[in-house]
């Protein structure tokens, strides 16, 4: 090998170390960038070596084979589901933990109101003609109605707040799916031209992570370099470079709460998605809204309807102070739907407590409390919808809600820990260690410095040779 080739090879090798320094610099710059995967500038011996003598070879230096990402596909394949599950259970836990309507020690809650109402009935039983005590019963009944109104409104407001949250997330999902479709196109173009667009892959991976968190979407790589995105039930959100859209619409059969509608990119008709077809934050929020909170709301409706109907049925049998009969204590509700929201004291009894039907007969005097005692007994009457009395029904509602919250809290903790383990595994495989990069930087710098010595030494040798001429 002549001296000029040595200088040429050394010059080419300097480029490899410049690339390694640049890669280390890029890695350090992106040490905290979400979605970034550490890159390696891979150096390899330049082949073929120059053949010298009979069996001798002299190498030609080093060549940059490429700059590659470090990703552990085994970890990546598990992370997607972990993102979706953790986001789903965390969203549920967050949504449910803010609902205080069923707190056991909440003042003015239904439990307190029921206790106050039946206490007022008992007080009136002691002196049925006392108008002050009759007013206290009306106030107690109004307290029950208000407690139901307030509690169900609180739950209903929580459900509406979830609607707003879901609407915002749907917009973000549409933005991300459009971005992934665009990235698919750009990545395809780069790959088709023989390059590896590491940074575009990072951006797309970050978008995929967010889509998993927001809606539980799964990436399915195609035969080229694109990824298709599907919902847990298989609905395709992104196919290659084409993204479908999601939208929201009020669902009249669900108190006008939002449902999510899938708009296919091919222009075919839109269709609403079932809650079970989505995961991530959106899926979790919808499950909280329609399952846990929806059940609590319908449970309150059933309880309000059954309780008021049972008390009214007994009230109608009794007689007011003026001997009239057929009076309801609560305004009649036509159906369990929205009963808790609409529960109110009967207007005529509210305006005139003497109409409270305490007596069991029209001929007895105002001190008769026979019917009042039957009304007191309704606190132990099994209600039609669940065969439990009012107190037991309220305990069951509280228990069902509490168990749902407790279970989802446990699940959220488990999913969070699993996600932490997997993100740590991802970070371990793909994350940037600044210490590592500084060492790589120093190693590349040392090699670079040494190669410059090779060039100056070889150049000195050439000078010496030239002086012989």
């Amino acid at each position: 090998m002549d001296l000029v080739n040595i200088i040429m090879n050394a010059g080419a090798s300097l480029g490899v170390y410049r690339a390694q320094v640049a890669t280390a610099s890029h890695n350090i710059s992106n040490a905290n960038t979400p979605g970034y995967a550490r890159q390696d500038a891979i150096a390899t011996e330049t082949v073929p070596a120059e053949e010298v003598g009979v069996n001798g070879y002299i190498g030609r230096g080093v060549t940059l084979q490429g700059v590659v990402q470090n990703r552990d596909q085994f970890v990546e394949s598990q992370l997607n589901a972990a993102f979706g599950n953790s986001a789903s259970t965390s969203a549920q836990a967050d949504a449910l933990s803010t609902v205080t309507a069923l707190d056991p020690q909440a003042k003015g809650g239904i439990t307190d109101a029921l206790g106050t109402f039946y206490s007022a009935l008992r007080d009136l039983n002691q002196n049925p003609s006392d108008l002050g005590l009759r007013q206290a019963v009306v106030d107690g009944a109004q307290g029950v109605a208000t407690a139901f109104n307030t509690t169900v409104n609180s739950i209903s407001n929580s459900r509406s707040a979830i609607d707003q949250n879901v609407a915002s997330l749907v917009d973000k999902v549409n933005g991300l799916t459009a971005a992934v479709a665009d990235l698919n196109q750009r990545i395809d173009q780069a790959v088709n031209s023989g390059r590896t667009p590491n940074d575009l892959l990072d951006v797309r991976q970050n978008d995929l992570d967010q889509l998993a968190q927001m809606i539980g979407a799964r990436p399915i790589p195609d035969d080229h370099s694109s990824v298709n995105i599907v919902l847990p039930d298989g609905t395709c959100l992104v196919s290659g470079i084409v993204a479908s859209k999601l939208s929201i619409q009020a669902n009249s059969s669900n108190n006008n709460h939002y449902e999510i509608v899938f708009k296919p990119s091919d222009g075919t008709s839109s269709s609403p998605l079932k809650n079970s077809e989505m995961g991530g934050q959106i899926g979790g929020l919808l499950v909280s809204r329609d399952d846990t909170l929806g059940k609590a709301e319908s449970g309150l409706d059933n309880l309000a309807y059954d309780l008021s109907t049972t008390i009214n049925q007994q009230s109608e049998l009794g007689y007011a102070l003026d001997g009239s009969t057929g009076h309801d204590l609560f305004a009649i509700l036509s159906a369990p739907s929205s009963a808790a929201k609409n529960l109110a004291v009967d207007a005529s009894v509210s305006a005139n407590p003497s109409l409270l039907a305490a007596a069991g007969s029209a001929t007895t005097g105002p001190g008769d409390s026979t019917n009042l005692q039957a009304m007191i007994a309704t606190e132990n009457t099994p209600l039609p919808s669940n065969n439990l009395n009012a107190q037991q029904s309220m305990a069951k509602l509280t228990s069902d809600f509490g168990i749902a919250v407790s279970t989802v809290n446990d699940s959220a903790e488990f999913d969070k820990n699993l996600l932490t383990d997997l993100t740590n595994a991802r970070e371990s495989a793909s994350g940037v260690s600044v210490d590592d990069e500084l060492i790589h930087l120093t190693a590349a710098q040392t090699a670079y410095n040494a190669l410059t010595k090779v060039v100056t030494t070889t150049n000195a040798m050439l000078d010496a040779l030239m002086k012989l001429i």
């Binding site: 040490a31 905290n32 449910l96 933990s97 205080t100 069923l102 707190d103 056991p104 020690q105 439990t111 307190d112 029921l114 206790g115 106050t116 039946y118 206490s119 008992r122 007080d123 039983n125 002691q126 002196n127 049925p128 003609s129 006392d130 007895t364 005097g365 105002p366 001190g367 008769d368 409390s369 005692q373 007994a377 606190e379 132990n380 107190q391 309220m394 305990a395 509280t398 228990s399 809600f401 509490g402 168990i403 749902a404 919250v405 407790s406 932490t420 993100t423 740590n424 595994a425 970070e427 371990s428 495989a429 994350g431 940037v432 260690s433 600044v434 210490d435 500084l438 060492i439 120093t442």
Partner: protein
């Protein structure tokens, strides 16, 4: 495992957040004295507390109403006590003036006193408590005994709970005790008859009235016994209800209240853990090769 700076940062954030969350939970428990603030904290305790809260209110109401019933019965007993005095005096008069040694003038004078006793009895039997006539039966909003002794109340008695669902008679049947409706003797008629006999100087009539007064004394005594027994039952109910309210309060406390010693210990532990986490983070975060390279 390869550990990067980002892992250390994020781990520090997570550990600090966990320590702060534990600290906040313990701090809330200590500050509020409540362990179960949300049904999700302990679903079983939250559900059980519903029953105990309603039971507590129920026992409190039963106790309060039993006390009122006892007070009212005491008022009735006081009235009957006054009626006993009336009948005792009527008996004395009947005994004294039943003796034929007394003449028409003396007996006419005694008749005036008996008329006064009659009015006194009417007054006692029209006693009100809490704004209603306690001897009127269910017709407690109007005077039950008219000036001539006619009873316009009814024989319905009221009942009040001594335990949830268990009722005890809480009023006296004046139609029976005073008017002798069920084969007894009518006190008002007896006093009227005595007065009439005294006015008409009818010795035999006076002695007949004496027998009737004796029967009325027995009826009133029986009424007082009935009132006394009912008062005992209600006082017992008051005591039982008070104990039950205390029991329910304790049960609710056991279910929902924080164990302050345990919560304080966890608070101290959480403070220690947070302190340790922050100290460890402060040491770890400053370690970098960049500081060592020159």
């Amino acid at each position: 495992m390869r550990v990067t700076e980002k892992m250390i940062f994020e781990s520090t954030v997570a550990q600090t957040a966990t320590s702060r969350q534990n600290l906040e939970v313990a701090q809330n428990e200590v500050a509020s004295g409540t362990r179960v603030q949300h049904p999700g904290d302990d679903p079983v305790a939250a559900a059980l507390s519903v029953g105990h809260t309603v039971d507590k209110a129920r026992f409190a109401a039963v106790g309060q109403d039993a006390q009122r019933a006892a007070d009212e019965l005491n008022a009735a007993d006081t009235a009957l006590d006054g009626l006993s005095t009336v009948t005792s005096r009527a008996m004395e008069i009947a005994t004294q003036f039943g003796n034929d040694s007394y003449g028409a003038t003396d007996r006419a004078t005694a008749a005036v006193e008996v008329n006064g006793l009659f009015q006194q009895a009417v007054g006692l039997l029209n006693t009100t408590y809490g704004g209603r006539y306690i001897f009127g039966g269910s017709k407690d909003n109007a005077v039950p005994f008219q000036a001539d002794g006619t009873y316009v109340g009814d024989d319905n008695t009221r009942t009040v709970e001594v335990a949830p669902g268990l009722y005890q008679t809480a009023s006296l049947d004046a139609n029976n005790i005073v008017k002798g409706a069920n084969g007894g003797t009518d006190l008002m008629k007896t006093l009227t008859d005595l007065s009439t006999a005294l006015k008409s100087n009818d010795g035999a009539g006076i002695r007949t009235a004496l027998d009737s007064v004796n029967q009325c004394v027995s009826q009133i005594a029986a009424g007082r016994t009935q009132a006394g027994m009912a008062v005992d039952a209600f006082q017992s109910a008051v005591s039982t209800a008070s104990t039950a309210v205390s029991d329910e309060t304790v049960k609710i406390g056991k279910l929902l209240d924080a164990d302050i010693i345990d919560a304080s210990t966890r608070l101290a532990s959480a403070q220690y853990a947070l302190n340790a986490t922050l100290s460890a983070a402060a040491k770890t975060l400053t370690m970098s090769l960049a500081d060592k390279l020159t």
